[in-house]
């Protein structure tokens, strides 16, 4: 893409791009995809326990919804908030379908013993990505969503609060609680040693 065009596209807001798409400019949707699709797939992958194929399905369905209802987008929230909500809700639908749930579980190695009873008490420092995912599975869905959203590179905490439609203070307090729960599941021995 030429530099001049790129800088012009980056100056245009998401809402302006959406309006241009509604008027028939399909390339405007491409610009929106360049800005958000990668992050959306990443978030969906995190929500769907690393299943990239399901995450891509969820994001594609979300784009379809954006295309169909772009005309009716009232602009009460930002485009980013709207599209993130669409993706999160689509991921929830996939998880709730049951069959996909079983597939999600099968993608992650089963633990023989619960994390809290694991004598090795893996620390956060030594937990790999799969362990973090296993820990996230141990959280309730709301806490898991909160954690992934807040640590997602595409959103600030303020934007995450908009997506969840909660005050930022509430978001931070719930995030702390979720992180503590996650650390507990992951068995942070360094933290316990420091406390002692």
């Amino acid at each position: 893409m030429p530099e001049a065009y790129r800088s012009e596209a980056s100056m245009t807001t998401d809402e302006q791009l959406l309006a241009r798409f509604v008027r028939g400019e399909r390339a405007a949707l491409g610009t929106l995809a360049e800005r958000h699709e990668r992050n959306l797939v990443g978030l969906a992958t995190g929500l769907l326990d690393g299943r990239v194929d399901l995450a891509q399905d969820a994001v594609q369905e979300s784009w379809l919804r954006v295309i169909r209802y772009a005309k009716s987008f009232e602009g009460k929230s930002s485009f980013r908030t709207w599209v993130y909500r669409v993706v999160i809700n689509r991921c929830r639908e996939i998880r709730e379908k049951g069959v996909s749930g079983q597939a999600l579980i099968a993608a992650v190695p089963e633990r023989e013993t619960p994390l809290s009873e694991n004598p090795l008490r893996l620390t956060v420092a030594e937990a790999g990505l799969s362990e973090v995912r296993a820990g996230l599975r141990g959280l309730n869905p709301s806490a898991r969503l909160l954690v992934l959203l807040c640590y997602h590179r595409g959103l600030t905490h303020s934007e995450a609060a908009d997506v969840m439609d909660i005050p930022i203070g509430t978001l931070k307090s719930r995030l702390n609680a979720a992180l503590n729960e996650l650390r507990g599941l992951l068995g942070d021995s360094d933290t316990k040693a420091g406390a002692i």
Binding site: G30, A33, N39, V52, V59, L64, Y69
Partner: protein, 365 residues
């Protein structure tokens, strides 16, 4: 320190867990293609652009109005001609076969009807007791007026009380014309008209019917009332044979008055009966040579006259169409308003549904 490092590590791992794939985005293109496939017209369709629901409803309503506008006048004409045709139906012994009017002794049967005002109580009985005075006209053209004039007088059946009321013939040669008025039994009107039609070329024909049923029922009721009064007065005389002379004379005077009323009412009934039982047929006969000469005089004038008639007819049709539109729009204003409100409500509802779909709910926290 280690806690910070652990936090940083977890933050990095969590960020990795939500990191997206590298490469150019392509899922949006798949979604666009899927949407295009959904919107594409199906094979065999006209490929017309999708019409929004309110516009489609409005177009359908407009089409219905136009079709109704074309059909309603035709239906109205069909209805009125169906009515006039049904009034011609005279089966044997039908409502117009009122031979009882020709026989005064049948009046006793009428007098013994229950005192309910004489009104029929069912639709079938209404059809049987309907009284209509019929007047018909027929214009004939023929090459031999005198011959047709003579034949016209022969269509009547004197045994049924039919007769020639008036007749006249004037002129000579191509200017000969005749009129004849026939009084024909109501049950034989169709038969007589068919015979008259066969005598020449029919150039005009009219039928008029005057429903006098109400008048007849009113006469019946008044007659019964007067008869009852007469009976009561006679009973009064019988019960009081030794009444004073003055009273007797007074009763007799009232009796005479009542009897006079009865006779008058009977007379009216007879007159109506004669009019109902015998239809009036006015026959006009002209020579057809006069028509031919008119044609020969000016074919050009005839053509122009035809054009003028067609022009006038088309203007009348245009006026009728405009009148219909005014009637439909103004007369149905209330319904147009209701329809507009309904269409607007449907459109708003559709818009709200779309907006609701677009308003993605926040994920539950």
């Amino acid at each position: 320190m280690s806690l910070e490092r652990n936090n940083d590590t977890m933050a990095a791992l969590l960020a990795d867990a939500t990191a997206g794939p590298s490469g150019a985005p392509s899922l949006w293109q798949n979604a666009l293609r899927a949407d295009d496939a959904r919107r594409a017209p199906r094979s065999g369709s006209l490929g017309a652009k999708r019409i929004s629901t309110p516009v489609g409803v409005a177009v359908i309503v407009l089409l219905m109005v136009v079709i109704a506008g074309a059909m309603v006048p035709a239906l109205g004409k069909a209805r009125s001609s169906a009515r006039s045709l049904s009034s011609y139906s005279e089966p044997d012994g039908g409502p117009y076969m009122d031979s009882r009017w020709l026989d005064r002794s049948s009046f006793a049967t009428e007098y013994q009807k229950p005192m309910n005002g004489g009104a029929p109580t069912s639709a079938a009985s209404m059809a049987e007791t309907r009284h209509v005075i019929r007047k018909l006209t027929i214009d004939l053209t023929t090459s031999d007026v005198r011959s047709v004039f003579a034949k016209t007088g022969l269509v009547i059946n004197e045994a049924l009380g039919e007769y020639v009321e008036t007749s006249s013939i004037t002129g000579d040669g191509p200017t000969t014309s005749a009129t004849i008025t026939l009084r024909v039994a109501a049950s034989r009107v169709s038969e007589v008209m068919n015979q008259l039609r066969s005598l020449g070329v029919v150039t005009a024909e009219t039928v008029n019917g005057q429903d006098v049923t109400d008048a007849v029922f009113d006469l019946d009721a008044r007659l019964r009332n007067e008869e009852r009064i007469e009976r009561e007065l006679l009973e009064l005389i019988d019960k009081r044979p030794d009444a004073p002379l003055k009273d007797l004379l007074e009763i007799r005077a009232q009796l005479a008055q009542v009897r006079g009323q009865i006779e008058s009412l009977v007379g009216q009934k007879e007159r109506i009966g004669r009019l109902v039982s015998l239809a009036t047929v006015l026959v006009s006969i002209r020579t057809e040579q006069a028509v031919v000469e008119t044609k020969a005089e000016g074919l050009g004038a005839y053509f122009i006259a035809g054009i003028e008639r067609a022009w006038e007819g088309s203007l009348r049709n245009l006026a009728d169409a405009a009148a219909f539109l005014v009637r439909t729009v103004v007369g149905g204003l209330v319904w147009w308003v209701i329809l507009a409100i309904a269409v607007f409500a449907v459109w708003r509802m559709a818009k709200r549904v779309a907006a609701r779909h677009a308003r993605e709910p926040a994920p539950l926290a």
